[in-house]
């Protein structure tokens, strides 16, 4: 599908086009402030809007394809722009129009967005979150696109994670990034630290870091989701991948001794975490690592976005979250996949599929991973020679893992993750003593939510 173009042409297109104006959809953010009662009619209106729609298919793809992008941070935004520019260059007659929407607002309004008049192609996440919208009939079937992608560097594992409950594909992966313990090489060299393999080694290291005046683990959970990553890592190490998946799917009890053990382990580690985490964003926590005030930081590799390109990012590296139980091991990791989905009734279906095939190609992903070196390409044929050392390490890390989870808010029901787990984990961080009360509370809410 994608036409081979010279490398020089791509390099030329790497220069990000001037940042386009923010779309009117960001206005939705402002609308959130409106009275809650007003929300009702707008919801009703949104339902009525999705009725009729005409799909144009077949024939040569021309016209405009609209893209809903949640990549509102400067670095990934420029990356998406470069990809779309390259797509237009390779496909004369097709133009793309990017609607950039603030990352969090996009997620918050996704239901209304998809039931209103969504863009032809929109950016989303693999996992339960993708299957959920596919099963609700809000996403378009892109199995056609996968017929070509499978032979062009996309692994079967990726195809599996792009497949909905009905066996069809609804997702085209673009990039992914591993979660791990990030640190600065220069800091470890300066104090003579070594990467810990087990939790005990890590605790010893943490105690030493405190003596050296460092915060052992940078930590910020103002937005509620970063601490989910800590829970996931601990659960994967304490109880293993299978239990984690079942727990996320609502098949295991949250008040079981196994989950309590996770929170117990976490409570024992809180002393090494940066204090007052609930008022700090992940960016601020990442800056503690960047400014060499903190020794390590458990986050996705997008932490690199807070580091200067070049030497500073070269100084950034990571180690796997240490082993806690040798029977469980440490070969399960988290590496969430970001990608694209198609609207149920795209205005320009042929164009949308062409674009989806392109974003799944090695060519497009080369552009993204070059512009945003905090992520790695999902396509095996992507050019790894140009990777930074962090990206190379990420590829190696992911390929060595036996099992890969997405992330709590992608692996479980969104209503459970956001309305139960965010307050629950935050209340654990405030009061780590009452674990029984905490897990019982979670379990009761889980039963109510998963029953509906």
């Amino acid at each position: 599908m994608t036409r081979p173009t010279s490398e020089a042409e791509y390099l030329a297109s790497l220069v990000p086009a001037s940042v386009r104006g923010v779309s009117r959809r960001t206005l939705l953010r402002g609308a959130l402030g409106a009275g809650t009662l007003l929300a009702a009619p707008s919801l009703l209106a949104a339902c009525g809007g999705g009725g009729s729609g005409s799909s144009s298919s077949g024939g040569a793809a021309t016209g405009t394809v609209t893209v809903g992008s949640n990549q509102s941070d400067a670095v990934p935004k420029a990356a998406i722009q470069s990809v779309m520019d390259a797509f237009q260059k390779a496909n004369s007659g097709l133009t793309t129009k990017i609607n950039t929407i603030d990352h969090n607002s996009f997620q918050e309004n996704i239901n209304n967005y998809l039931q209103g008049s969504p863009d032809d192609v929109w950016m989303w996440f693999a996992g339960y979150r993708m299957r959920f919208f596919a099963s609700k009939g809000l996403a378009g079937d892109v199995s056609d696109v996968w017929k070509d992608l499978s032979g062009a560097g996309m692994s079967d594992a990726l195809k599996k994670s792009s497949t909905g409950d009905d066996g069809k594909q609804y997702f085209v992966p673009s990039t992914y990034y591993p979660w791990a313990m990030f640190y600065r090489k220069s800091v470890f060299e300066k104090y003579g630290y070594t990467e810990p393999k087990t939790l005990d080694e890590f605790k010893t290291l943490g105690t030493q870091m405190k003596k050296d005046g460092l915060v052992p683990i940078a930590f910020g959970d103002k937005d509620g989701w970063p601490a989910m990553g800590t829970f996931d890592q601990l659960n994967l190490r304490v109880n293993g991948y299978d239990f984690h998946v079942n727990l996320m799917a609502g098949k295991e009890a949250w008040n079981s001794p196994k989950v309590k053990a996770v929170f117990d382990t976490w409570a024992g580690l809180l002393d090494y975490h940066q204090a007052d985490s609930l008022g700090r964003t992940w960016q601020e926590a990442a800056q503690a690592l960047q400014q060499k005030k903190a020794g390590t930081y458990l986050l996705g590799s997008f932490v690199a976005q807070q580091f200067g390109k070049g030497a500073e990012q070269e100084d950034l590296t990571f180690f796997n979250f240490p082993e806690i139980d040798s029977n469980v091991g440490a070969d399960a990791i988290e590496a969430p996949i970001d990608g694209y989905m198609m609207a149920k009734r795209p205005k320009n279906e042929a164009g949308a599929k062409k674009l989806l095939a392109y974003v799944g190609s090695a060519d497009a992903q080369n552009i993204v991973v070059k512009a945003d070196p905090s992520v790695i390409a999902t396509n095996d044929k992507a050019d790894q020679a140009a990777y930074t050392s962090l990206q190379k390490k990420s590829v190696e890390f992911v390929s060595q893992a036996k099992s890969i989870a997405q992330f709590m808010d992608r692996d479980t029901r969104p209503d459970f993750a956001s309305t139960v787990m965010i307050p629950a984990i935050q209340s654990f961080l405030k009061n780590p003593k009452d674990i029984d009360g905490l897990v019982n509370g979670i379990e009761k809410q889980k039963q109510s939510i998963f029953a509906s």
Binding site: L43, C47, G279, P414, D415, Q426, G441, S448, S452
Partner: protein, 296 residues
Amino acid sequence: MARKYKGIDHLTPVDRVVVGLMIAVPTLLVLWLVWVPAIGSVLLSFTNWDGIGPISSAKNVGLKNYTDVLTIYPPFVPALQHNLIWLAVMFLIATPIGMFLAVLLDREVRGSRVYQTAIYLPVVLSLALVGFIWQLIYSRDQGLINSVTGSSIDWYGDQRYNLWAALIASSWRHVGYIMLLYLAGLKGVDPTLREAAKVDGASERQTFFRVVFPVMFPINIIVLVVTVIESLRAFDLVWVINKGRNGLELISTLVTSNIVGEASRIGFGSALATFMLVISSIFIVIYLRIVMREQR
């Protein structure tokens, strides 16, 4: 064209249509914009609708959402408490300060216009901006308070302080609003009343509490209503700070985070909204009773 009005029976057909429209259009608007959503959200609170697909796909779950809110939803009780604390602080602290400032400014102190503008200025700012301005003051690592005092209190993040920190920011704005309302009222008080009080030998304090304050009854009611409304709809500021989590839960933010987010627990969120409606209704009833009694 001036005709003498002889009662509704003597209106021309055109006039009747006009009058009919003048009554019907606002009534329909009120029904559509106020009553349909209000009743709709009460009805939705008995369902498990997830916001996707037609409403007919929603299942009736009876009172489940209400029992869930009351029994297994940990943020609800704190939210209720915070709403009441918010109301109490606005009513007992911010509003009296605003009234006090108005009385001071009414005495034509030198530069009263400058003070007036300075105190009123925060009202012009959007609450999102107010949140940001105070963020500069409260920020743990770069904030004004911590730089000056050398403390490392996380004003917006630590749940022991953040409600009070938010209340100070909100009061800062509320005081100006009340000050202006009250000042306008004070300017309207007949000066002869004060003179009469003075002649009778009343002190300043007596003049205010015995003469001016009772005369200001209608303004007092407006101030009361404004305070109650502002406290119950408190939302923007805490949403800007941390989306109403971690010590800043308010019923309004719980409603929003359940309904608006990806979560889309519309039924559950509507049950929360119904609680808010009931609480607001209590104050509305009190207000209406006062107003009705006044009119009689």
